[in-house]
């Protein structure tokens, strides 16, 4: 039923009782009818003013927007006339290193809310009966809840939905973790050969990326339309040992091609992706510590499909992270196998968050962390700045197990907890001591600890109160789950 916006009040003009003792009743009726008509005219004029006011406000906002745009156009015109292709130095490295253009995708939220109510509807609302004043009873309640919330709560449905979504995301994360644990339990037997990682591969990769495709000394044999093969370069390329990586690279490239085709915005970024894949493929074979490798790999994955190519940021951050982790990591446990061909989607800010959270990790990653933190970093594109600060939990890692790699030998996957941010070091230390004690006592106790830590993490998790953030987080978890199934990340602590 549509809600009536405006009502002209005296609806029935001639209804109403006649006063007693009036001589000419017809005249009386006429006069009262005319009085009602005057009231109607008054209401009509009020509504007309309201209508024109609303239209004026809207038109005014458009006028402001248009003047703003006009200024920008003028600035652009001036800027463009100052462009001179002879003066500008456009290096090839610049073209490859530039961040791809992303238009701002701001989603409207809270469109129909109490704050955006129209004035006539507000008047009608205020004319209605008020709910009983149950909030008077609030000080006498034991559980300190607002008394009126039991009678009528405007935010009830939203809170319900939010809890359901968060629960669903948690469930998905758990399933993923269990899935990965199973995979590692299956695959933990024969992977010693491939677990060797290359150190500091990110820097080299970025250096390689700075060159154009043809000039890269390390370029793999990748059939790409942007690749003009020279005779000299082909000899270099053919000299590279590509056998273990080429199936991965081709397979990965197919998958990434699909993703790239859907999301690519320019040919430059596509060539960037193709360039990334061979470098990431090459990185998979060489030796490295667990941390850097997983870090580099995740960043390679997340960057390649995402096409943001925020190369410099990630390069800088990954370098920082690598330096940090270089100092912290003891002689590395054999790194988990690398699957460079898994292209899983990532959101533009997941890479930065990866670097941030990995920098916060104190030691070599526990199994399941690297995959999870890449997956669960979900952000709504409209809230980039607050999100890296507000989003704390990647899947928690049992950080207490980090220092003793020997004690971590027992199957860690069941003990995959949410990873807390670096700001939560103190509770983490407590958790660590608890976990050590629990390890000595047995695996059962570790599961309880995991639940407790999860609850704590959930309480601390500053979820944005937006539909957009919650939904985007959920979608990220689901989407990344579907993409990352074949990604046996570096979760093994086996020696």
């Amino acid at each position: 039923m549509p809600l009536v916006k405006r009502i002209i009040e005296p609806r029935f003009l001639s209804r109403g009782s006649l006063p007693d003792g009036v001589a000419s009743e017809l005249e009386c009726v006429t006069n009262s009818t005319l009085a009602a008509v005057i009231k109607q005219l008054g209401g009509l004029s009020r509504h007309a003013e309201d209508i024109f006011g609303e239209l004026f406000i809207e038109a005014n906002s458009f006028y402001l927007k248009m003047s703003n745009l006009q200024e920008r156009v003028d600035l652009l015109a001036v800027k463009v006339t100052q462009l001179d292709s002879n003066v500008e130095e456009v290096s090839l490295q610049d073209i490859n290193m530039r961040k791809a253009f992303r238009s701002s995708t701001i989603q409207d939220q809270q469109v129909v809310s109490r704050s955006s109510i129209l004035n006539p509807v507000l008047m009608t609302y205020q004319g209605c009966d008020k709910p009983p004043p149950l909030n008077i009873l609030t000080p006498y309640r034991d559980d300190k809840k607002d008394g009126l919330k039991f009678y009528t709560d405007p935010s009830y449905f939203f809170i319900l939905w939010k809890e359901k979504m968060l629960q669903a995301t948690e469930n998905k994360r758990k399933e993923k973790r269990r899935h990965k644990e199973q995979k590692h339990a299956e695959d933990s037997s024969g992977r010693e050969v491939k677990k060797i990682r290359k150190a500091r591969n990110r820097r080299q990769e970025w250096n390689l990326m700075a060159y154009d495709k043809e000039l890269r000394p390390d370029a793999r044999v990748t059939p790409s339309p942007y690749h003009t093969s020279d005779g000299s370069m082909s000899s270099d390329r053919s000299g590279m040992s590509d056998d273990p990586s080429s199936p991965h690279s081709t397979h990965g490239k197919d998958r990434k091609d699909n993703v790239a085709m859907e999301t690519s915005s320019s040919g430059l970024t596509q060539s960037l992706d193709r360039a990334l894949r061979p470098t990431s493929a090459s990185s998979g074979v060489t030796t490295a510590t667990t941390r850097q490798h997983s870090l580099g790999r995740n960043q390679a994955y997340t960057q390649a499909p995402s096409l943001t190519g925020s190369a410099k940021q990630n390069g800088a951050q990954s370098n920082e992270a690598k330096d940090l982790s270089n100092h912290q990591i003891p002689p590395a446990p054999p790194p988990p196998p690398l699957m460079p061909s898994t292209g899983h989607t990532a959101f533009p800010f997941s890479t930065t968050h990866n670097a941030a959270t990995s920098a916060s990790l104190h030691s070599a990653a526990a199994p399941g962390n690297q995959g999870d933190h890449a997956l669960s970093c979900s952000y709504s594109p409209s809230h980039p700045p607050p999100l890296p600060t507000t989003y704390t939990p990647s899947p928690s890692c049992p950080k207490g197990q980090a220092p003793p790699s020997t004690t971590a030998a027992p199957p860690l996957p069941p003990a995959m907890d949410n990873r807390k941010a670096s700001g939560l070091n103190v509770p983490m230390n407590e958790a660590r001591s608890d976990l050590l004690a629990a390890i000595r006592r047995g695996i059962q106790l570790r599961k309880v600890q995991e639940q407790r830590e999860q609850e704590e993490a959930k309480k601390r998790e500053p979820t944005g109160n937006d539909v957009a953030t919650i939904l985007s987080r959920r979608i990220a978890v689901e989407y990344s789950e579907s993409e990352e199934e074949s990604d046996p990340e570096d979760q093994d602590w086996s020696d």
Binding site: I8, L13, S24, L26, E27, T30, T33, L34, V37, Q40, L41, L44, H47, A48, I51, E54, L55, E58, A59, F62, K65, M66, L69, R72, V73, L76, A77, K79, V80, T81, L83, D84, S85, E88, V90, D94, I95, R98, F101, S103, S104
Partner: protein
């Protein structure tokens, strides 16, 4: 009889005249209300169309700003883009203002 009729008749005639007068007024009120509603709706739809075009323009401007600031584009490409959308936008706005 004629004496009774005249004042009563006069009164009834007067009453009919009054009612017709009131009817004219109320039908005009209804016409005004209809006009206000339809004006409101048409204005909103035009403003929404205008907003759409403004949004499209804004996106193009953002894109061009990104291109210009990166200094990758050659001058003529950017100039042609600018000329295109300024021309188009100018043409559309003239209609509505």
């Amino acid at each position: 009889m004629a004496g009774q009729e005249d004042p009563v008749q006069r009164e009834i005639h007067q009453d009919w005249a009054n009612r017709e007068y009131i009817e004219v007024i109320t039908s005009s009120i209804k016409k005004i209300a209809d006009f206000l509603n339809s004006f409101d709706m048409s204005c909103r739809s035009r403003l929404a169309t205008l907003n759409e075009k403004l949004t499209a323009l804004e996106r193009r401007i953002e894109y061009i700003e990104a291109r210009v600031s990166r200094r990758i584009t050659v001058r003529c490409i950017v100039l042609s883009d600018l000329i295109n959308f300024v021309f188009l936008s100018h043409g559309t706005f003239v209609k509505y203002i």
